[in-house]
Symmetry: C2
């Protein structure tokens, strides 16, 4: 195992009715005003908005709001919220929603204490020095933004979707009430599920095989997700499966699975997916079910071992050479994505062959990346072509 | 899954040479004086003491010391340290050692801000309100005291060994450098390994089967420990295995495996083991390899299912009824303990049949306990007799 620092300070309040427990934390921190952030109607439909605002009202906490935060969240919303906070005092940021809303909250929390344009922090022109505390209520499990210090934001003017990571951006408290996810559109359960699997695979397939113990934690997570996603498609109100899905989502990208790995994960598929999200506004999970198998087919020959281990430990494939097993595992993964109706080709996303040049240029902005294979611009082009 | 709160604020600095990283945390917190706590010669032998004191000296941090902390740590040492701190200002407590030293540090950290006798906190006559921060350096992995808020202390006058758990008792920072464990006596690697396995089994065998995902995390941990312990007996300086052992130890009792379980774990075996530690000063791990199989034989018939799942997922036992599989799993566990030369009977610990009455009375002080089966005094007696 490689050296690592594990420090995840977020308090997770997990389970139905857990919004009520948030009150203690807000009072202990003497919070008087929070900036509420959310997307659209779903927070009303699932009951989260009313539970949260009832609690805040009872506690006498003021809650100015900014809403209409979109999937693939944009820097202009972040700027709007930062400007609002700079104009009137706010003690904390409170996202209600999924990864996009949490990611926006983190950018806002950091931007509040930075004098220049908040996008500078994403372009690494400036460092996060201080951040407002974040008290969040999760309504869509997938990105694990509720338990990490990562914010992924899109800048349309720059045609750039990229991430900022900092220890100060971990939420102070995150409420995960799986019942809020009963009313999610099926597509979101599917895409979220793909994202969760991808977070584990970015680690398991990074080429570092020095800890069987940690690999086994990852395999167990993926194996369970292959069971849980179909259970939820069958019955979206299966509380037990919603809980497992939500907690697996958090575990998958809390930093835990990265402990001891030489890289923090490969993340080529995420980077290539971000360009699809940027240029065509495609849901994050849908970009991953397309890109990840193509990435795998392109890189497995450089080191088939992690793919062969995945074959054995997740898909019960034991016969043949490591290369054979690797290919079978990639096929099994793709088959699973098809089974749950996740897209596996760029064509299904209505991306044209002509767009691949533009996609390649866009993704190349994020270079260098990749751990199992260090990716260059030719690789990017090859992978998008394979995905086509 | 049941509702839970997951909040583990400890920063873990993991890997060889990590003591050096501790400096940043001490400086950021403006620490000027630490009370150094340790046991005996092992901290000199393994190099931890010199690395830590060199660093403290360089930083200009004063470090008064209290040493000679024993396995099965005693309340008198805690009182001695608390008195010392109350007489002269100290900013933090710094254990260098294993679970006993960390547990002592936690009791001291809490006792410093309590006006009465610190034992009151263990008898729940008073509540922890405030605690000194703990910056620890681990030299023996087993109890996971480096990543939890639990302190287990022995009070010989009361003939009582019991635990105190509080959110304020999580170490602020724990350094885990697996190289410090190269020089451990083989027995300690064996007993620590038993303790780590027991921490996972206390959860897996608590009768709560509502999260296959979390169960699989636990099974993976136990399966890997069955591989890692013999690897370390074979080669105590196998860095990779030392890392996996150390990190598995932390994960096993960090609270992670308890997430979503109805109980926080069964812990009957731990309670029955504590009485053996109390009355006969036996190493914690050795009490567990004796008690746990006896406990299992006594209770499995009340609910064989978790034992049967353990048989399938850890020992590859698939044939027969759940009861058959359960019994085979218990035998396989006991066989493994014998293979690694851990004791499996009270006789091997030189405990006499006549002592069982006294043991039973002592363990009964900790009632009520048990989750898979709620234990009563008769159960305690039966289990010790089975262990004989």
């Amino acid at each position: 195992m490689n050296n690592f620092i594990w420090h995840n300070p977020t308090a997770v309040l997990f389970g139905k009715g857990s919004v009520s427990k948030l009150a203690d934390y807000l009072q202990a921190a003497n919070i008087k005003t929070v900036l509420l952030l959310y997307g659209g109607k779903s927070v009303f439909k699932c009951g989260a908005y009313s539970q949260v605002t009832d609690m805040l009202t009872k506690l006498g906490i003021a809650f100015p709001e900014i809403n209409d935060i979109k999937p693939n969240p944009r820097i202009d919303k972040v700027r709007e919220a930062v400007a609002r906070i700079k104009a009137s005092k706010v003690d904390a940021v409170m996202p209600i929603g999924g990864g996009s809303v949490f990611d926006t909250a983190k950018a806002v929390a950091a931007g509040t204490f930075y004098d220049g344009d908040v996008w500078d922090l994403f372009e690494k022109k400036a460092q996060v020095k201080k951040a407002l505390p974040i008290y969040g209520v999760l309504t869509v499990s997938a990105t694990a933004s509720e338990v990490n210090g990562i914010s992924v934001i899109m800048n349309p003017e720059r045609e750039f979707k990229t991430s900022l990571e900092h220890q100060l951006l971990y939420p102070a408290v995150s409420v995960i009430d799986p019942e809020f996810q009963y009313s999610l559109p099926e597509k979101q359960t599917i895409y979220g599920g793909v994202d969760i699997i991808a977070h584990a695979l970015e680690r398991l397939l990074d080429g570092d095989e020095d800890s069987e113990f940690m690999d086994d934690q990852g395999y167990a997570l993926v194996r369970n997700m292959l069971r849980i996603i179909p259970e939820l498609i069958e019955d979206p109100k299966n509380y037990s499966a919603r809980c497992e899905y939500a907690w697996a989502a958090s575990v998958a990208h809390s930093g835990f699975l990265a402990c001891g790995r030489e890289s923090r994960g490969d993340f080529s598929s995420h980077k290539l997916g971000h360009s699809l999200g940027m240029l065509f506004d495609i849901a994050h999970g849908a970009t991953l079910s397309v890109v990840m198998p193509a990435w795998a087919r392109h890189v497995y020959k450089y080191n088939p071992v992690p793919f062969a281990r995945l074959a054995e430990n997740v898909f019960d494939i034991y016969d043949g050479s490591d290369e054979d097993k690797a290919l079978e595992a990639i096929e099994a993964l793709e088959d699973f994505f098809r089974e749950i109706n996740a897209p596996t080709t760029l064509r299904e996303l209505n991306v044209k062959e002509d767009d691949i040049e533009r996609l390649t240029k866009n993704a190349a902005k994020n270079l260098p990346f990749g751990a199992l294979k260090h990716i260059d611009e030719q690789d990017i082009n090859d992978i998008y072509n394979l995905a086509y």
